[in-house]
C-alpha cells in the first residue's frame, strides 16, 4: 500500500473481556502489532508510554477501575485525542451513549456483534485517514521548521555583515532581537492596549535585526571613533536612522510586506524619545509606533551592557538603574514596567545567546504555537522524546521516588522502577481511594499535602512536606518535595515531585 508506514502499526485493544480482545485481535489479522489492556487505567498507562505511536485504539465502555469514558476524558485533557483515533466498541448502542462518545472525540463506533470484514475495513480506513493527516501535518511543520531555520540563518549572516564594520560580532543584533521578544511577551501579559498577536511578536523580533542597517552609510572614522563625536560627526551618525528607512523604502516590490513596514518603523524611529526630544522626526508619546519604542529600549539596554569603542560595559543592575532614572533616554512608563518585570529573563540574554540550539528551539516553538492544528511534527517529537528520555533516566537512577499527579482526572503516576519497589501500580487512579497507597502513606497526610499544594501559586509553586510512610512494615520518615503545575488559565492542574526516605522513625 503506497503512502502507509513501512513498519507495523500499533493497535491498542481495551476491553475487560479476554474473549473479546482475542476475537478482535484475530479479526485484525497479522498486519498490526496488537497491544492489550484490560481496563481504562492500564490503557492510559500504555498511552502515556507510547503516545502518538499508537495508530488506533479500540475501546470498550464498560470496564472496572476506569471505564471507556474515563479513558476518553484523559485522552482529551492530554490532547492525545487529536492524534490518535479511537473506535469505540460496545454492546451499548443507545443514542445517548453514542452521542456521549462522539462528543468525547471518538472517530467511529462499532457495535456488537463483530463482523470480521467490517471491523477490518473500518480499522484500516481509520488508520489510513489519520496516517495521511499526520503525514501532511508533519510535512507542513517540517517546512515551517526549515523556513525558520533558513530565516534565522539569514538574520545571523546579516547581523554579522552589519556589525562587521563596527568591529563587533553579530551579538548586538541577536541580543536586541531576544530583548525585543522578551519585552513584547511581557507587554502582552500586562496589557491588551497594543493588540499584539503571537505572529506580531515574531515579526517585530525579526524586523528588529534591521534596526541599524543605516549604519552602512556612516563612514568608518566616525563609526569607530573612540573619543567624543563633533557636532557634525554626530549629525552624520544620527542620520543612520533615516538612511536605513530610505533603504527600505527603495524596495519598491516589497512595500506591502508587513516585515518591511515594521522594519521601516523601527529603522526610522528607534532613536525617538517618549517626551518628543528624540530624532529624526521628534515624535512624541504614542505617535511612536510600539515596535520602535520597544526596539529603542532593547537597543539602549544592550548598548549599556556591552563594551563599545567609547565605553566599558555596565552591569545589569547599573544599566537597569540608569534606564529607570531617565539617564539614558525617555521611555513609555508601561515599557519601563515591562523592563522591571522581565528583569531576570533580560539578564540571562547575554549568556543565552551563545546557545544557538536554545534560540532555535524557542523560535521554532513560537512559530509552531501560532498554528493550533499543528500538534506535533517530527522535529518537535524528537525534542519531546529527548526530554522524556532525560526525565526517565534521571528518575531511574535516583534513589528517591519520582511522581506526577494530575487533578483531573485524579491520578498519580510513578516511574516503573519506583512503583516496583513499593508494589504499587505505575498508574494509580483516584489515589485517595487506593488501598495500597493509603497503606503506605495515611489518607490524612495525603490530604494535608494536597491542601499545601492547592495553596501554592504559579510564582511560588514549591512545597516541602515531612510525613511518615510504612515501608516493609517499618515506619520511615520521608520528605516530599513537590511543585504545583498550572495550566494556561492559571488554574491548579497537578504537581510533580519526589519523595526521599530519611530513615526509620
Amino acid at each position: 500500500m503506497s503512502g502507509v508506514d513501512k513498519h507495523r502499526q500499533k493497535v491498542l485493544i481495551v476491553d475487560d473481556s479476554e474473549m473479546n480482545r482475542n476475537i478482535l485481535s484475530e479479526m485484525l489479522g497479522d498486519e498490526y502489532d496488537i497491544i492489550e489492556a484490560e481496563n481504562g487505567a492500564e490503557a492510559v498507562n500504555i498511552l502515556r508510554k507510547e503516545s502518538v505511536n499508537i495508530s488506533l485504539v479500540l475501546l470498550d465502555i464498560v470496564m472496572p477501575v476506569m471505564d471507556g469514558y474515563g479513558v476518553l476524558a484523559v485522552m482529551n485533557s492530554r490532547h492525545w485525542i487529536d492524534d490518535v483515533p479511537v473506535i469505540m466498541i460496545s454492546a451499548d448502542n443507545s443514542v445517548s451513549s453514542m452521542r456521549r462518545a462522539y462528543e468525547l472525540g471518538i472517530t467511529e463506533f462499532i457495535s456488537r456483534p463483530f463482523d470480521a470484514l467490517i471491523v477490518r475495513h473500518r480499522v484500516v480506513n481509520t488508520i489510513m485517514l489519520y496516517a495521511k493527516q499526520k503525514r501532511l501535518v508533519g510535512m507542513v511543520a517540517d517546512q515551517i521548521y526549515e523556513k525558520e531555520k533558513d530565516s534565522s540563518l539569514m538574520i545571523n549572516i546579516l547581523s554579522h555583515i552589519v556589525e562587521f564594520r563596527n568591529g563587533e560580532s553579530g551579538m548586538h543584533v541577536l541580543n536586541v532581537q531576544m530583548l525585543t521578544e522578551i519585552l513584547l511577551r511581557q507587554l502582552v501579559r500586562q496589557t491588551d492596549k497594543y493588540n499584539i498577536s503571537k505572529a506580531d511578536i515574531s515579526l517585530i523580533g525579526k524586523a528588529s535585526s534591521l534596526h541599524d542597517i543605516g549604519k552602512i552609510s556612516v563612514p568608518d572614522h566616525i563609526l569607530n571613533k573612540p573619543g567624543r563625536l563633533t557636532p557634525e560627526e554626530f549629525e552624520i551618525m544620527k542620520n543612520h536612522s533615516v538612511a536605513g528607512a530610505s533603504m527600505l523604502e527603495e524596495l519598491t516590490l516589497y512595500q506591502d510586506e508587513p516585515l518591511v513596514k515594521i522594519a521601516y518603523q523601527i529603522c526610522r524611529w528607534h532613536h525617538e524619545r517618549y517626551d518628543g526630544r528624540g530624532y529624526p522626526d521628534g515624535l512624541k508619546g504614542e505617535e511612536i509606533p510600539i515596535s520602535a519604542q520597544i526596539v529603542a529600549l532593547a537597543d539602549v539596554y544592550d548598548a549599556l551592557t556591552s563594551e563599545r569603542v567609547y565605553k566599558k560595559a555596565f552591569s545589569h543592575e547599573k544599566s537597569m538603574e540608569m534606564i529607570m532614572n531617565g539617564e539614558c533616554g525617555c521611555f513609555n512608563p508601561i515599557l519601563l514596567e515591562c523592563l522591571q518585570s522581565a528583569s531576570e529573563a533580560i539578564e540571562k540574554v547575554k549568556a543565552h545567546n551563545s546557545d544557538e540550539n536554545e534560540k532555535q528551539r524557542e523560535n521554532l516553538a513560537l512559530e509552531l504555537m501560532q498554528y493550533e492544528e499543528l500538534s506535533a511534527s517530527e522535529e518537535t517529537l524528537r525534542l519531546l522524546d529527548y526530554e522524556r528520555m532525560k526525565n526517565d533516566f534521571f528518575a531511574s537512577v535516583s534513589n528517591e521516588l519520582h511522581f506526577e499527579y494530575t487533578v483531573s482526572p485524579s491520578m498519580v503516576s510513578l516511574y516503573p522502577n519506583n512503583s516496583n519497589m513499593l508494589e504499587l501500580n505505575e498508574l494509580i487512579a483516584y489515589p485517595m481511594d487506593d488501598e495500597r497507597l493509603t497503606s503506605i502513606i495515611s489518607m490524612d497526610e495525603l490530604k494535608e499535602l494536597g491542601l499545601l499544594l492547592k495553596h501554592t501559586s504559579p510564582d511560588s509553586p514549591v512545597v516541602s512536606y515531612n510525613c511518615k510512610a510504612r515501608l516493609n512494615n517499618e515506619i520511615h520518615n520521608i520528605n516530599i518535595i513537590c511543585r504545583s503545575v498550572w495550566n494556561s488559565r492559571s488554574e491548579f492542574c497537578g504537581a510533580i515531585g519526589k519523595a526521599a526516605d530519611l530513615g526509620i522513625a
Binding site: S17, I23, A91, P113, D115, A116
Partner: protein
C-alpha cells in the same frame, strides 16, 4: 459432534456467527475458548456476595461474548440479567439468575461435546 450440531444443541445461530467470523476454524476456536471464560463464574460469585456493580459488569461482559459468538439463548437471559442489574433490580436479577445458570449449562455441555 460437528460445529453445526453443537450450535443446534445450545440453541445458537450458526449461520450468523459463521458469516461474521468467516471461518469454521475461528468459530470453533472461540467456542472452545468460551469454556475458560470467567464471566459467568464471576457473575455467580458476585451475585452471592451482593456485589451488584461487579455483577452488572460480569453480566454485561457475558452478554457481549454471547452476542459475538451468537449463543442466542444464553445471550437472551444474560441480556435480561444485565438490564435488571443496570436498573438496580436485584430481586429480579436473583430470579433471572437460575435461567442464566440453566442456559449456561446447556451451552457449555454442548461445547464440551465439540471438544471430543
Amino acid at each position: 459432534m460437528t460445529l453445526k450440531e453443537c450450535y443446534a444443541a445450545l440453541e445458537g445461530d450458526y449461520e450468523s456467527v459463521l458469516s461474521r467470523l468467516m471461518t469454521e476454524k475461528l468459530v470453533q476456536k472461540f467456542a472452545l475458548k468460551f469454556l475458560d471464560d470467567a464471566s459467568f463464574n464471576n457473575l455467580v460469585k458476585n451475585m452471592s456476595e451482593s456485589k451488584w456493580d461487579d455483577a452488572f459488569r460480569d453480566a454485561h461482559t457475558l452478554k457481549g461474548v454471547c452476542q459475538n459468538l451468537s449463543f442466542t439463548k444464553l445471550f437472551s437471559s444474560s441480556s435480561t440479567m444485565t438490564e435488571a442489574l443496570r436498573d438496580g433490580n436485584t430481586e429480579e436479577a436473583a430470579k433471572i439468575l437460575s435461567q442464566v445458570k440453566a442456559d449456561y449449562e446447556q451451552t457449555v455441555s454442548a461445547i464440551r461435546e465439540l471438544a471430543v
